[in-house]
């Protein structure tokens, strides 16, 4: 009898441990490969690592060097331009398309997948397509000339001052359909009774959207902002494929800066410090968002 109860006890205890055991490999992987690695990179950013990691502590030297580099300032300025335009234009296009599609449009089932398919492509594919499409020699400019618009000029991709805007165009092309889907889901979630009541009160369509619908879409705006800003900060592939960071350094972003300082210029300490700054920027946006999202649920 005593033997049997001991066995039962053992089995229930095992049952209690199994869930944690099952979770532990994933958890260990995340702790080591994400949080451990973050700490390691953080540590490297305080050392004088060059081509290989070194463990000579130099304090904030790398950060001082980083913020003194014109190359880094170019990257930061470009990110500010790119992120602002990217977020604003994607949101504007996404919201417009969602509102227009929500007017009982015939063929909505055809249009929606067309708006959204770029999201399934790799940024390298997008970059390749736009790189040649925007190339003045063979692309859009050439086509316009052949169609008789001789004075048409569109050489942004070769222009130091304008190249960053071609990154915006390609990135907007890729993600604005996704933003449309987010807003459309938000619109479809709005109770029609509210809209009908407002219409009976004599509100015009314009006022209906401005005063009622758009304020109700606040959660969708927030999600769109968070997703787009984190995509903007992480943008790397598109720049590599579209301009390679050029002409010159005209389209360098922090992500490409980090890569070239760490792996091509062999200034790993500086590269690590730029990665830390990227992480802190994203964490400042994501942490409150995730915290709020997780807390809402019971």
């Amino acid at each position: 009898m005593a033997h049997q109860s001991a066995e039962v006890d053992f089995r229930t205890r095992l049952q209690n441990w199994i869930p944690k055991l099952v979770l532990s490999p994933s958890l260990a992987a995340v702790l080591v490969f994400v949080y451990g690695f973050i700490l390691f990179t953080l540590y490297l950013s305080f050392t004088n690592s060059k081509m290989l990691p070194s463990y000579d502590w130099v304090g904030f030297e790398n950060y001082r060097k980083l913020w003194g580099l014109s190359h880094w300032w170019t990257a930061i300025t470009n990110l500010a331009i790119f992120a602002t335009l990217y977020i604003v234009i994607c949101t504007a296009i996404g919201l417009t398309l969602a509102i227009l599609l929500d007017q009982k449009i015939r063929g909505e089932g055809m249009l929606r997948p067309i708006y959204l398919y770029p999201m399934a492509l790799s940024f390298i594919v997008t970059g390749t397509a736009w790189k040649w499409f925007l190339d003045p020699g063979i692309g859009l400019e050439n086509t316009m000339h052949l169609w008789g618009w001789e004075s048409f000029e569109f050489g942004w991709i070769k222009d130091r001052n304008m190249a960053i805007y071609t990154i915006v165009i390609a990135a907007v092309w890729q993600t604005s359909g996704f933003v449309m889907a987010m807003f459309l889901a938000g619109l479809r979630g709005i109770d029609n009774e509210i809209l009908k009541a407002a219409q009976i009160d004599g509100a015009s369509n314009w006022n209906l959207y401005r005063r009622i619908v758009i304020p109700l879409l606040r959660p969708a705006f927030l999600s769109a902002f968070v997703i787009l800003s984190h995509l903007a900060i992480k943008s790397y592939d598109l720049v590599i494929a579209l301009t390679g960071g050029g002409p010159g350094r005209a389209t360098e972003l922090p992500a490409t800066f980090m890569y070239s300082y760490t792996f091509s210029r062999n200034l790993m300490g500086v590269g690590a410090s730029s990665a830390v700054i990227m992480l802190m920027t994203i964490a400042a946006i994501m942490t409150p968002y995730l915290y709020a999202e997780l807390r809402e649920k019971p």
Partner: protein, 293 residues
Amino acid sequence: MSAATQETAIRTGRIARTFIYVVLLVFALFYLLPFFVMLVNSVKPLSEITEGNMMALPKELTFAPWASAWSTAQIGVEPTGLRPYFLNSLFMVVPAVLICTALGALNGYVLTKWRFRGDTLLFGLMLFSCFIPFQIVLIPMARMLGIMGLAGSTAGLVLVHVVYGIGFSTLYFRNYYSAFPTELVRAAMIDGAGFFQIFWRIMVPVSGPITVVCVIWLFTNIWNDFLFGASFASGSKAPMTVALNNLVQSSTGVKEYNVHFAGAILAALPTLLVYIVAGRYFVRGLMAGSVKG
């Protein structure tokens, strides 16, 4: 988004409606144009691109650029075409997706049906890992793969993608299983079913839709990855995206635009096919990926 039939209360006039259709169609053209350009120019001889109009249909239809992109084009130093790299990507993406989905299902099951103190915090830690800029892990990861003897190998890339995919796959299954009645699990426990029995007999049979969502999301993400591929598997083990970039950026010889376009479509084909076949699930994955479950 199945509520497409829901009545919209807004009434619009005829002129306004025409305007709406025009705007919607113009945007449809904007999204289709780059793909049209890729497709049309991938079946033209090179001279028609360099001397002709990029928007024009081919005068002479040729599939030579496709054949070249697939099997003879110069990638880096070898004239292998994209085929070996296509296979690299396939051998990377299939195991990574399977492992990641299985782990995500188990994690989601534990986090919703076998809850314990601090589980939300652990989930939060996993979830945050989806959004980190991967630059922060590149240096230690390169060293770790070196130590493990996986540097420059497909197996190494599988490991990397599994580790950074777990957050999303766990998110999907956790949100899905949290809507599943816990009473059923309790009843099975009282009947003496164990942890794995409940998982196999009760959870797995209802997991069809979310598995499709998760598989599509991971497949698209991993297939399209460039940063990890370029960092950890250059040379003959490079994935498709890296090889395509090498093809397009190569500075030697004549720029064969038609081959570049054919290559780009080849690189896009697997994810595009998935999108065409199961677009609904792809959109669901995207929406859930913006965290709202």
